[in-house]
Amino acid sequence: MNEVGNFLAEAFCRQLAGLVTPEAIRAVEDSASPGELWRTLDDSGFADALLPEAAGGAGLDLAQAFPLVLAAGEYCVPLPFAETMVARSMLAAHGADVPAGAAIVLAGPSAIIPCGRLAGYALVDRDGVPTLVAAGGSGSDLFRTGAATELDEGEVLATLPRDPDAVLLAAAAVSAALMAGAMARVLEMSLRYAGERQQFGRSLGKFQAIQQQLAVLAEQVLSTQVAARSAFTGSAFDPIRVAAAKCRANEAATQVCNIAHAIHGAIGVTAEFDLQLYTRRIKQWQLAFGSESYWGARLGQARIAAAAGTTADFLRRHLATGSE
């Protein structure tokens, strides 16, 4: 069903493994600039995967593109790759011209815009109209990830038909999927570390208390991944699916980071160790584009509006694979 997407994701992962090394991530963080990495990433063409084949893309739908976004999270791509991929497709769907090579962030309402300092453009919401602007991020880089707390907006390059939810939904959906990808890597790193680190003459993973924590970690990661996958359905993001995905990812984030860092002990937070590259980003996405209470309230309202059926009906009609 998703063979094209999986095939492309495998090729993408191979590329990321060679390209987005921990050193490359740190180089972007230290210089607070995209450097050559963006050009190489963009040249690979994956950021156009959602565009129609006639427009030089791979013609993927959201479900097919999900593995790519997940991979961007898993490899901790420090630049707005997934955001750009989605923004380009939203713009292309309405025939808007996008500057070649543009890195675009999705600037829905949020205290912070992940990668805001690392992109030249932003898809912003102007009174309900998704608008592509030249933009530079500023303010504090709160998580040392190149996020911005302010956007200095310049020239308007394109406007899309009025849709007050569109930018926020895309931003939240992408964040949830990136979180899911990063969490999968955090789980993998925690399992590896638990197998290597010895205390009391045994590897940590032999202690039942640690095993139980890792089981909970796996549960949180897998349910977040399934929820994020459900948000990447159909041709445009659906508010109910996005609400469920971002709410789940946000709820899971605290426990995932707490358990992963608990298992790593002190070394996990050190600059030298890779775990913190991931958990800082998970926390940044947790704070961006609506919290679990925000999305929870929207999801709850949607459930109440569907008053006639049971919650099982609601899940089946609005949140199941194949129900779009």
Binding site: M1, N2, A63, L70, A184, L187, E188, L191, A194, G195, G205, K206, Q208, I210, Q211, Q212, L214, A215, V216, A218, E219, L222, S223, T224, Q225, V226, A227, R229, S230, A243, A244, A245, C247, R248, E251, E292, S293, Y294, W295, G296, A297, R298, L299, G300, Q301, A302, R303, I304, A307, T310, T311, A312, D313, F314, L315, R316, L319, A320, T321, G322
Partner: protein, 384 residues
Amino acid sequence: MSLTLENFPPAVIPPHAEALRDEVKAFIAEQLEGVPPHVRARSWAGFDADFSRAMAARGWIGLTIPREYGGAGLDPFARFVLVEELLAAGAPVAAHWIGDRQSAPLLLHYGTEAQRRDILPRLCNGELFFCIGMSEPNSGSDLASVRTRAERVEGGWRLNGQKIWTTYAHKSHYMIALVRTSGTSEDRQSGLSQFLVDLSLPGVTVRPIMIGTGDTDFNEVFFEDVLLPEDALVGAEGNGWKQVNAELAFERSGPERIYSSLVLLDLWARLLGDSPDPADAARLGRLVSRLAPLREMSVAMTALLAKGESPITEAALFKDMGTEIEQQIPAEIADAVATRPELATDPELLRTLAYLMQLNHVFSLRGGTREILRGMIARGLGLR
């Protein structure tokens, strides 16, 4: 790592199975008319033999059992649709639940042709109810240590020992019992076998256990020199542990591990009205957001079962998370209704809530405890 998103491939319930849904909804609406939520909240612990026989009359017990044995010959997806509707409505399914969910598939898979011909048609007719005889007073989580023993005797087996926590043994006709047929407790998984025990045989004593709420759903079951016929053995002698484990994928992967508090959730949601307090809406939405991926997982496991696979680790992960949300729902609603203690609470909501508040802690015990499930997940992750 061997537990990833690929263990839960996206699955869609096929149209032939969905086609059943409206008919089931109509049946339930008719059967449960006027039954209040606090009764429906018993969910799959609610026992009503008449209801089960009405289900059987529709051909809805043993849905996945081949027609030649009295079943409907449908696939696990059809069963998913059926039980999802039953659970969401709080239908009293307990009488046929165990037989339908695990005894029938067990007999179909491991039973002799004679056992299948003898038992399955009556099970599907709603004539025979089943219970699970696994736990013993000294063998709970450590199930492999069971001591109840069956010894070969002339023409059959002699059974001695005791089972406990046997849900609805006092209303069941048969127990599928896991017992020792050779060796001792120290031999652990080897030497265990499963038996089909007719509970009306001489030497069987069933004693209900009352719980604090006044309910008596589960029992102690004693076996004193019970003579079982030769063909009471299910599957191969000594193969009991493997067979029990095969049952677990059925026992732990279904929607009953996420919907046990659904009647309460829906009653509360309905009472919130059209313009709820935003905090209540958020609480509701957060619960829904946790249920959504779990239902997806359950459908994914149904697809795996339909392919003949046995997603045991996946089911452990799903059940651990599912029962947590089932436990959380009454806790959240209790918090919500008492957020403003000066406001009156709907009496039916209060009754339904109180019922579930007294029972939700067992949701993570029945069918294997959290710690045991997490141990299985850890094994799936390669840690053990």
